[in-house]
């Protein structure tokens, strides 16, 4: 089937390609409806990845957060028009111990496989999940919610059981979603968010407390922490967490940094701190996310961080969306009409 696919050929330069797609009985064709821009897509778009990475990966179809409606399922398992979330991780092997999103062989859309900026996405039927009554704009960033779910599930498996106070560092979208979902998992824990912007922190009405990072009391301690900062500031955040975490606490790392952060490992050793890496998510995380987000109150909170919804009818509109996303505090959603 001829498919219209939009690829980033060089930074800020998108082009339409046509691909002859193959489909089998296991394929379900999904028309993307609402897509959301992730910081990772933005880094490719702006050309902020290392040159050798850009040389290797471009041309690349961006976007790995999105929902769509089923266009065609030969087997009839999914109904035409049914709204589904698309799981960007595609495992190619089965492993009983290691989760699919950590297998080095797995393909991930908008990185090692085509992302969702297409007229139709050819999904394997085990990579889509009906979203039920979830609002479509909110549905566009279910993937990012599932990344938080993956990190929290990891945290539950690996962190010690004293979870009286949990600190979240970062007041962007990842910090917001992680705090919100963590609160639904641990309603009795005190969840405190650390950030740099009072305005952004004021969105976190469901957190037990918020603090500005320069105003932390010396005797302020958390049992565990989530680092949701990423980028060049991640280094400061991780070192501040190391100072303010109780012994044997777990630091769940969620932010992506291009440069290697320098970490106070002496104190990591002294306190017996566990650094827990988290990346992406798998089918089971999406399943749990879709269940959690059915809650109308959570959907309301999620709606509050849609900074802007932009209608996309052509490539110029996509360029506009990526440009405007740079100035948005939280999520930029694209209503996909291509």
């Amino acid at each position: 089937m001829i498919n219209e696919v939009i690829k980033l050929v060089s930074p800020k330069n998108l082009e339409t390609f046509f691909q002859d797609e193959k489909y089998t009985d296991e394929t379900v064709i999904v028309r993307p409806t609402y897509l959301s821009i992730c910081a990772a897509d933005q880094r490719y778009y702006q050309g902020k990845r290392k040159q050798e990475i850009l040389d290797k990966k471009l041309p690349l179809t961006l976007i790995h957060e999105g929902i769509g409606e089923v266009m065609y399922d030969k087997q009839g398992q999914f109904k035409k028009g049914e709204k589904v979330v698309m799981v960007p991780n595609t495992p190619v092997e089965k492993d009983d111990i290691i989760h699919e999103n950590y297998l080095r062989s797995s393909k991930f859309r908008s990185s090692s496989a085509d992302g969702f900026m297409q007229s139709a996405v050819y999904m394997n039927r085990n990579r889509i999940i009906p979203i039920g009554s979830i609002d479509e704009s909110v549905g566009s960033f279910l993937e990012l919610c599932s990344v938080s779910v993956n990190a929290i599930e990891n945290f539950i498996r690996k962190a010690h059981p004293r979870k009286n106070v949990i600190g979240i560092w970062g007041c962007g979208s990842v910090g917001y979603l992680t705090t919100l979902i963590l609160k639904s998992y641990f309603p009795n824990s005190k969840i405190i968010v650390m950030g740099t912007s009072r305005e952004k922190l004021s969105y976190f009405s469901f957190a037990d407390e918020t603090k500005i990072i320069t105003e932390l009391e010396p005797n302020f301690y958390v049992d565990h922490a989530f680092e949701c900062v990423g980028g060049p500031k991640a280094e400061d955040a991780i070192n501040q967490i190391i100072d303010h975490i109780n012994p044997e606490g777990t630091i769940s790392l969620m932010g992506v940094s291009e440069e290697f952060p320098r970490i106070n490992t002496r104190m990591v050793l002294e306190k017996g701190i566990s650094l827990l890496g988290n990346s992406r998510s798998g089918y089971d995380d999406f399943k749990k996310t879709v269940e959690i987000v059915q809650n109308k109150q959570i959907q309301e909170y999620l709606t509050n961080i849609i900074s802007e919804t932009i209608e996309i009818n052509n490539i110029n509109d996509i360029n506009e969306a990526f440009d405007r996303d740079l100035n948005n505090d939280f999520k930029t959603v694209m209503k996909w009409n291509i």
């Binding site: 089937m1 002859d20 028309r31 266009m71 139709a120 291509i338």
Partner: protein, 237 residues
């Protein structure tokens, strides 16, 4: 209900020495017509696809549909002797088999496989609004009119000129009523279905096409289409 109406009545005399009508030539791994049918088959706004082909190509078309995109929503019928005759055959088939006053048919050239989902969707939406649509792109070149083929008789304002593509979409019942009300003389000069509405001073909504929604009518077009699908090397072999 909304129908895709694939017009494949032509025998492809413009393509050169090929024996197969042009809609059956391979583009990548499938015949051109299959690519076109597939776009309508997967469209969320289309309920069934009617494919009209010359009488002696019906069995052949059934064979390739069976091979590449078998689906109970595809119907293969006989085309007419002219373009509008083919459109009418599709309309008659729809009227006889799916009784509904609001039936819409989105007619499309079999040899335009790069039609997009957006174009199909816009056709259905605007057809509901206006009763008929035509898919166009703004004219790039200045249009020059010459009545005798020797000297210019007129140069229309380019910004008001568009090039017609397909799909063209209609309310099935209204189109049949309009067409049946034409005189035989009028029917003969009408090579374009949208013109049936224009001469009756009825509104036809404009759907923006795409430059790449090209019609594959020459060997050069086919080469370009293969290049667009990144199959140039295959073509050269």
């Amino acid at each position: 209900m909304n129908f895709g109406g694939i017009l494949a009545g032509g025998k492809g005399t413009r393509m050169g020495k090929t024996d197969l009508p042009k809609q059956f030539l391979m583009l990548g791994e499938k015949p051109i017509i299959i690519h076109t049918i597939e776009q309508f088959l997967i469209s969320p706004v289309i309920d069934a696809v009617i494919v009209a082909v010359p009488a002696n190509w019906i069995t052949y078309t059934q064979d390739i549909v069976e091979k590449y995109c078998k689906d109970e929503k595809i119907y293969i019928i006989e085309g007419g002797s002219s373009r509008n005759g083919t459109v009418m055959n599709i309309c008659k088939f729809i009227t006889e088999n799916f009784k509904d006053e609001d039936n819409i048919v989105v007619t499309h050239d079999a040899v335009r496989p790069f039609v997009t989902q957006r174009i199909i969707k816009d056709n259905v939406e605007l057809c509901k609004k206006y009763g008929a649509t035509d898919t166009v792109i703004p004219a790039v070149d200045t249009i020059v009119e010459s009545k005798d083929g020797m000297v210019i008789s007129n140069i229309p304002v380019r910004s008001q000129m568009y090039q017609g593509q397909t799909p063209q979409s209609f309310n099935v019942k209204a189109f049949m009523d309009e067409y049946n009300a034409l005189t035989e003389e009028e029917k003969e000069i009408l090579t374009d279905a949208a013109k049936v509405y224009v001469i009756k001073q009825k509104q036809v909504g404009l759907v923006m096409g795409e430059s790449y929604n090209m019609k594959i009518t020459t060997k050069h077009d086919l080469k370009l289409a293969k290049l667009m699908l990144n199959n140039l090397n295959e073509e050269e072999e």
